[in-house]
């Protein structure tokens, strides 16, 4: 392991994503408007509910959860599937496979740059705005550190899922379809579109053990100190679940990829 080599890829990624400044600015602005829509919607929903607390979530809790989930989504979003299908079509994938670095490692680190940029440009500003607007509703303490750790785990789980889906695309030659199936499942079952706390009991018990939750729900639950995550006993199962899925999905992804890479056919590449 040569960290210097990996960080070179991170730097290249940072420079590349700073190229599209206008796009980033417009996206940032549009995200803010989108968040205002989310705010209006849930304000109306809670106003009609008649009570302040629904399923242990107050309006403020729900808002913080959903806004930060959107911010996390923007920052974790990867285009591995799209990029891989494009590089198979153009034949560029051969060059990537020939690089003196494991393909999976190479892919992971080349995305790390854009993650750094997006974290600084989308997540941090959103977080600060939420912190100021809600006036101290986010607990400030050691939970921030736990949140960062959980986010790194979330990043690895998300990357592993992306890689597995991208590998499936080698067989199906369908990118849009596979990608939309993945996105839909992840967004629904991870709690990004509606907090998991609102799910019906039986449904939730199943979802709690699935890997999708490790991406959005666990980091946010830890940040908000819900479900007893302010104690070590509550915290460890969360990290345990994330770690378990990191290992399982990474192993599965590596095996699947090694098996499938021989099947790549580049037409005229």
């Amino acid at each position: 392991m040569n960290l210097k080599r990996h960080l070179a890829l991170t730097r290249a990624g940072i420079m590349e994503s700073l190229q599209y400044r206008l796009g980033t600015a417009v996206t940032l602005f549009a995200n803010l408007i989108y968040l205002v829509l989310v705010y209006f919607l849930w304000k109306a929903i809670y106003a009609s509910a008649g009570t302040d607390v629904v399923n242990g979530m107050t309006f403020t809790d729900t808002m913080i959860y959903l806004i930060l989930a959107t911010a996390l989504f923007n920052f974790l979003e990867m285009f591995v599937v799209w990029d891989m299908s494009r590089s198979i079509q153009s034949g560029k994938i051969i060059l990537d496979l020939l690089k003196p670095m494991n393909f999976r490692t190479y892919t992971f680190w080349s995305y790390s740059g854009s993650h750094v940029v997006l974290f600084a440009l989308t997540f941090v500003p959103t977080f600060i705005v939420v912190m100021i607007v809600t006036n101290g509703a986010i607990p400030m303490g050691i939970n921030l550190l736990y949140f960062v750790i959980a986010t790194v785990f979330a990043l690895i789980v998300n990357f592993s899922m992306e890689m597995i889906v991208a590998t499936i695309c080698l067989y199906t030659e369908s990118t849009w379809g596979i990608n939309i199936v993945k996105e839909t499942i992840v967004l629904l079952l991870s709690g990004a579109s509606i907090p998991l706390a609102f799910f019906p009991e039986v449904f939730r018990q199943v979802v709690e053990y699935l890997p999708f939750r490790a991406v959005y729900d666990i980091p946010l639950t830890i940040l908000l100190e819900k479900n007893g995550t302010d104690t070590l006993e509550g915290l460890l199962p969360m990290f345990g679940l994330q770690l378990a899925w990191c290992v399982i999905l990474t192993l599965a992804g590596v095996l699947f990829w090694n098996h499938s890479v021989r099947k790549i056919t580049v037409n005229g590449g």
Binding site: V36, A49, I178, I180, V181, L188
Partner: protein, 276 residues
Amino acid sequence: MSTNTITKQKERRGFGFYARIYRKILVQDLKSKMSYRADFVISTIGMIMTNLSGFVTFLILFKNFPSINGWDYHHMLFLYGFSLIALTPVQCFFDNNWNLRFQVQSGDFIKYCFRPINVFFYFMSEVFDVKGLGQLAFGVGTLVYAWVNIGIPVTPLVILKLLLFLLTASLFMIAIMNAAAATCFWIVGSGYVMVIMFRFKDFAKYPSNIFHGVFRILFTFVIPIAFVAYYPSLAILESDNIPVLTWCAPALGVLFFYLSYKFWMLGVRKYDFTGS
């Protein structure tokens, strides 16, 4: 070709002429799609999954909250079904907008300018998205279910009104996507504009009187999301107290569509001038 024949040809280009061309191009598109059968099947499954997940989210929401801003379960379902149907035309007939920026960037777009037919028409006719029909089925099912449960009487007049306002509603989303796609004539890599607009459409299925102040104006007159389902559906839901904006919707829809078309064509002209 003499001037005489050209004028003659132009005279024959009515609706029938374009309908005939559309059918020919459509058949070619479907043939080429069927050759990638796996992709076709998976994409269809994907479309069904998105709709299902939308429903699940909706059901979970209403399991926890009885109503939203005075809109109960069945009225919200009505709005939801209405929006799904209204979003079908943009999905089926105007899906090629998503490819516009790639074609413009690579220069392939020039081929559309060389044909003696309307550039906008020719470009859009190239793709018919079959997946949209699944969404249509979902929408019709939801609308009928909500309709029966609310107990709206079925008369020829109401059906006529429904069709008129569905058509109206669909014009707004088409206009939004046309305008969003056309930005690529000026800005390189403007795909994110379309992505953003496509995300905003998720809010079409909520009663837009939940928005306040500047945002209400923004989403009524600038990015007319409120017209994709809310205002048009009021024509059916509150037939004895129809707001002014609902009455204006058909005219506004045509206007928005016309403006987006002009904007799109302005982009084409700008593209021509660069000579690329």
